[in-house]
């Protein structure tokens, strides 16, 4: 099983991307989404996911809202803000630049 570290600083990018596709998800749903979409390769640990969510919330990229579910339990749903969309674009292009650079090195070596 990959370690949380294997996300290599891409956790923010993944969370933002997922929220851009599917707004209003709670933490558990985001976690399972990362897991499913990556074909069980990537896994966001709870211990890093929540601090990251709270940090991004404070940065104003995502916003959160409490809802009460049918079971009576409250859940905190996250969605992307305008600033978050910008941040996502920036992170995506940075990621592209980094991976293509890494690929180039791998090809040449």
């Amino acid at each position: 099983m990959p370690k949380p570290d294997s996300l290599q600083g891409s956790l923010d990018l993944l969370v933002l991307k997922i929220l851009s596709r599917r707004p209003r998800l709670h933490g558990y749903a985001i976690m399972t989404a990362i897991q499913n979409m990556s074909g069980e390769v990537l896994r966001a640990e709870e211990g890093s996911l929540y601090p990251a969510l709270h940090r991004m919330e404070e940065s104003g990229w995502i916003r959160a809202e409490w809802i009460t579910k049918d079971t009576g339990r409250r859940a905190r749903l996250y969605e992307l803000t305008a600033a978050g969309k910008k941040q996502l674009a920036a992170e995506e292009s940075r990621w592209q630049a980094v991976t293509s650079a890494v690929n180039r090195v791998l090809r040449m070596a």
Binding site: E45, E46, Y50, P51, R73
Partner: protein, 884 residues
């Protein structure tokens, strides 16, 4: 928004933690629902506490959160040491409150700009001159004709505004029997416009209200007077009141902030200068001249122009001076005009109290520093007790600045609490001090707004104080070395050295405060106990006016009637009471010699006055009913010394120069001992008493409009018959009316109001300084005994005598006390010249003035040392050594 929410989160810490927890729990529940093993799901989170902290850190402002934590911790710390904290807070509060109070007074009297447009462009005109009696003086009074010329001369570069010296006048809204008093100021009609003031009601005066003498009987009320006298009744416009024989119509109310241009007097009524009877007179200096420079106009050319105009005016006027020595006139004409910034207004109270307030503010600042030193020592001692706690904090990773913050926050707590209490103290004490400036009939009225200026000062002072007493202990606490501190072996001497140095500083300041207080008290003592030459006991003075001038015989009739009032011993008449801040002087000449350069002072008195005042008659006789002015005179011994070389002048005669007219001749019928005439200070003046009944040029008796009945009563409290006498005067003759009743004692005391105030406040601060220094000394000694108890125990165990122990405990401290006292002495000697003008017949270098503070401090030091010494010699070596 984000910063704001993070700041808000600091104060909702619990809710924040709950929310984070709830979200995590919800996650776990979700996971279990999805079929995950509950234990596994929980384990995935790791330590929840760490996670919560990590999340929390994103959502709160870190420094604010730590500040909040420190504030709570500091508060607990204060509560834990509640007695010492309370002592520290109270002493600081007293000091901060006194400083704020002093600032309020100084600000209100000397600094606060008048609420007018561009107060920075406002100047007051005054001149340096050598007065006819040969003394140099600065004088800010002007005659209206001179003002008019000067105004025209600088018309293009400045606007001149005339404002009279505020006067407490009799006026009535109904009949003569319902006279009341109000502070009236004659002002140029254009003053309001030039100051950019808008009426609160009705209209203000304009240039058109100030054109022709006697033609503009209009009045503007101050907002303050409108409120107190009329309850802000808008129907006040159009109402009339009478001053003397003139009926004035109220046309408006001035804006609330504007209370006149004289700090220390709140004007009630403004009337145009043209309504003053002296407006055409060249020899009556009854106005101040304010100068409003137009924008970007330099001061010097304006001053030169005003100087030339004023000098030309006076030179022209001096041509009419007769009976005055030419030398005196020439010296007087060497006067120069100058402009003084008057953005804060201009008043006599400012001149009288500028230095006094400066001296007081230095005293309160010293008391504040003493209090700070106390608290610093207290904090240092507490920090010593907490060295282990600090060491522990450092060992588990607290940063140096975090510890500085911790201790500083505690100091800030002390300072803020003290500032709050001090604020209350200042709120009460500043008006209290003003209320003590209360010469009879003219108490100081100073508006003391508590606004952002005062608040800003107090806040800045609180911050300064916190840093002053908190920073050193904070830095020391943060520099703790955990290894040695936890072993309990930190060097105790460095800490004690600082405390000792602070003791020396405290003693030095305390000495200075005591020394200055001693000088002020001695001054007040000398001034109030010096012989006046007459007896003020049981003496009542009734300043009386008549509707129109009345012949002396009618005045005598009223006096005769008053003599029949029960409780009245004697009644006599004088033009003014003695020591009434008033003088009438002239050059005299003897045997046709040229007029004297030294001036003689005159007072009109009736037969029996000398006796009633209990001024001893040395030779000759009292006036008789047949004596007239000019004609007979009774002179003082100083008069005889000055003009007759000390020979007995009885039977000789002199000529009084008089203004303009022919000299009048007086034959000296009596010689009396000296009595204080105008001032309580300074040398005795050469005084000639002349008969109350005066004869005019045509040989008839001159009628008199105002005079003072001097009544000696049987009862020890002369005021007991005051209301009866006030009633009886118009009953004797209906055209007479008492305007003002004062005891002679009150009048005498009005000369020592400032000295009494200074002495009282200085004494108060001296007591506070002494108390604080004593507490400080006690605390430090106690601490050092506590710290050295192991050493003392060992010494005792090996047989040191009690005296030796006591000596060891106090030697260091007492050398500090001596050092401090010496430093205070030096400071005192160096600073004494700054307040010498406030002293009277007191030599600051006199041994008694120095010995008193020295002995007092020594006595207090001994007293403060006693408990610590007792504690030291009572140490039981066995228990002490075992406990370590």
């Amino acid at each position: 928004m984000s910063l704001w929410s993070r700041m808000a989160n600091v104060f909702h810490g619990d809710r924040l933690s709950r929310e984070i927890d709830e979200e995590l729990q919800s996650h776990i529940a979700e996971a279990i629902e999805q079929g995950r093993d509950p234990a596994d799901a929980r384990k995935a989170f790791g330590p929840v506490l760490r996670l919560r902290d990590e999340s929390r850190d994103f959502r709160v402002v870190g420094w604010l959160d730590s500040l909040r934590a420190d504030a709570i911790f500091g508060w607990r710390q204060l509560k834990k040491n509640n007695v010492t904290s309370a002592a520290a807070i109270l002493s600081l509060a007293l000091a901060i409150g006194s400083c704020t109070s002093a600032f309020r007074l100084i600000d209100a009297l000397l600094l606060r700009p008048l609420p007018v447009a561009d107060p920075d462009h406002l100047y007051a005109l005054a001149r340096h001159e050598i007065f006819f009696d040969g003394t140099p003086q600065t004088f800010d009074g002007w005659a209206y004709p001179a003002f008019r010329l000067m105004r025209a001369a600088v018309r293009n570069s400045a606007e001149l505004i005339a404002v009279s010296y505020a006067e407490r006048m009799d006026l009535t809204y109904k009949s003569d029997q319902e006279m009341e008093k109000a502070h009236v100021q004659y002002v140029s009609g254009w003053m309001f416009g030039s100051f950019g003031l808008r009426p609160a009601l009705g209209r203000l005066l304009t240039e058109n209200d100030d054109l022709k003498p006697g033609a503009h009987p209009y009045a503007v009320l101050s907002h303050n007077y409108w409120t107190h006298r009329f309850g802000q009744d808008p129907k006040v416009i159009g109402r009339a009141f009478r001053v003397g024989n003139t009926l004035y119509e109220i046309v408006g109310v001035a804006p609330e902030p504007f209370t006149g241009t004289e700090p220390g007097t709140i004007i009630d009524i403004f009337i145009p200068t043209m309504m003053n009877a002296a407006v055409e007179r060249s020899d009556s200096t009854w106005i101040r001249t304010l100068v409003r420079l137009k924008p970007s106009v330099a001061v010097t050319p304006v001053r030169d122009s005003l100087n030339a105009t004023s000098l030309a005016f006076e030179q022209e006027r001096a041509k009419g001076f007769t009976g005055m020595p030419k030398q005196s006139i020439d010296n007087w004409l060497k006067q120069t005009v100058f402009l003084e910034p008057a953005s804060a207004g201009v008043s006599g109270l400012q001149n009288d109290y500028r230095r006094a307030l400066a001296a007081l503010s230095v005293l309160v600042a010293l008391v504040l520093l003493i209090a700070c030193a106390n608290v610093a020592n207290l904090m240092t001692a507490q920090a010593a007790a907490r060295a282990r706690e600090m060491a522990l904090r450092v060992s588990i990773g607290a940063g140096r600045w975090r510890l500085v913050q911790l201790v500083l926050v505690e100091s800030a707590w002390l300072a803020c609490l003290a500032a709050a209490i001090g604020g209350l103290f200042a709120w009460w004490s500043a008006p209290f001090v003003v209320s003590m400036i209360n010469p009879p009939d003219n108490p100081a009225r100073l508006s003391l707004p508590a606004d952002w200026r005062v608040f800003g000062f107090a806040a800045a002072m609180t911050l300064g104080v916190t840093i002053l007493f908190g920073l050193a202990p904070a830095l020391r606490a943060s520099a703790v070395k955990p290894a040695s501190a936890l072993k309990g072996g930190e060097d105790p001497h460095s800490r004690r050295r600082m405390m000792h140095a602070l003791i020396a500083v405290q003693v030095a300041f305390c000495f200075l405060v005591l020394f200055v207080a001693g000088l002020f008290v001695a001054t007040f003592d000398r001034l109030s106990n010096q012989p006046t030459g007459f007896s003020a006991e049981r003496l009542l003075t009734l300043d009386t006016v008549s509707e129109r001038p009345q012949l002396p015989v009618l005045w005598e009739q009223v006096a005769e009637h008053l003599r029949t009032v029960p409780g009245v011993e004697t009644v006599s008449l004088a033009s003014r009471p003695l020591l009434g801040w008033y003088s009438s002087n002239d050059s005299i000449s003897i045997n046709g010699a040229p007029p004297s350069q030294v001036l003689a002072y005159f007072l009109n008195v009736s037969p029996g006055w000398v006796d009633a005042m209990k001024i001893p008659l040395v030779d000759g006789r009292d006036f008789r009913a047949s004596d007239t002015n000019p004609g007979a005179a009774i002179v003082s011994e100083t008069f005889a010394r000055q003009f007759f070389n000390g020979e007995n002048p009885v039977g000789k005669s002199f000529d009084r120069a008089g203004d303009g007219g022919d000299p009048s001749r007086f034959q000296i019928v009596g010689l009396v001992r000296d009595a204080r005439y105008r001032d309580a200070r300074g040398p005795m003046l050469p005084v000639a008493y002349v008969p109350f009944q005066a004869i005019d040029e045509k040989g008839g008796f001159s009628a008199i409009r105002r005079a003072t009945f001097i009544v000696r009563t049987y009862g020890s409290n002369p005021l007991a018959v005051a209301s009866t006498l006030r009633r009886e005067v118009p009953r004797a003759r209906p055209e007479f009316r008492v305007s003002n009743i004062r005891t002679q004692l009150e009048i005498n005391q009005s000369h020592t109001v400032r000295e009494r105030l200074l002495a009282m406040l200085a004494l108060f601060f001296a007591a506070v300084a002494l108390l604080l220094a004593g507490i400080g000394l006690y605390g430090v000694l106690d601490y050092s005994v506590l710290q050295r108890r192991r050493e003392i125990g060992i010494r005792m165990a090996i047989g040191a005598p009690t005296a030796d122990i006591a000596r060891r405990v106090v030697t260091d401290i007492f050398s500090m006390v001596l050092l401090g006292a010496l430093a205070g002495l030096t400071l005192g000697m160096a600073s004494v010249r700054y307040f010498e003008s406030l002293l009277y017949q007191v030599k600051p270098t006199a041994p008694s003035m120095l010995a008193l503070p020295a002995f007092t401090i020594l006595a207090v030091a001994l007293l403060a040392a006693l408990p610590a010494v007792v504690r030291a010699v009572r140490i039981d070596p066995a228990t002490t050594l075992r406990s370590e």
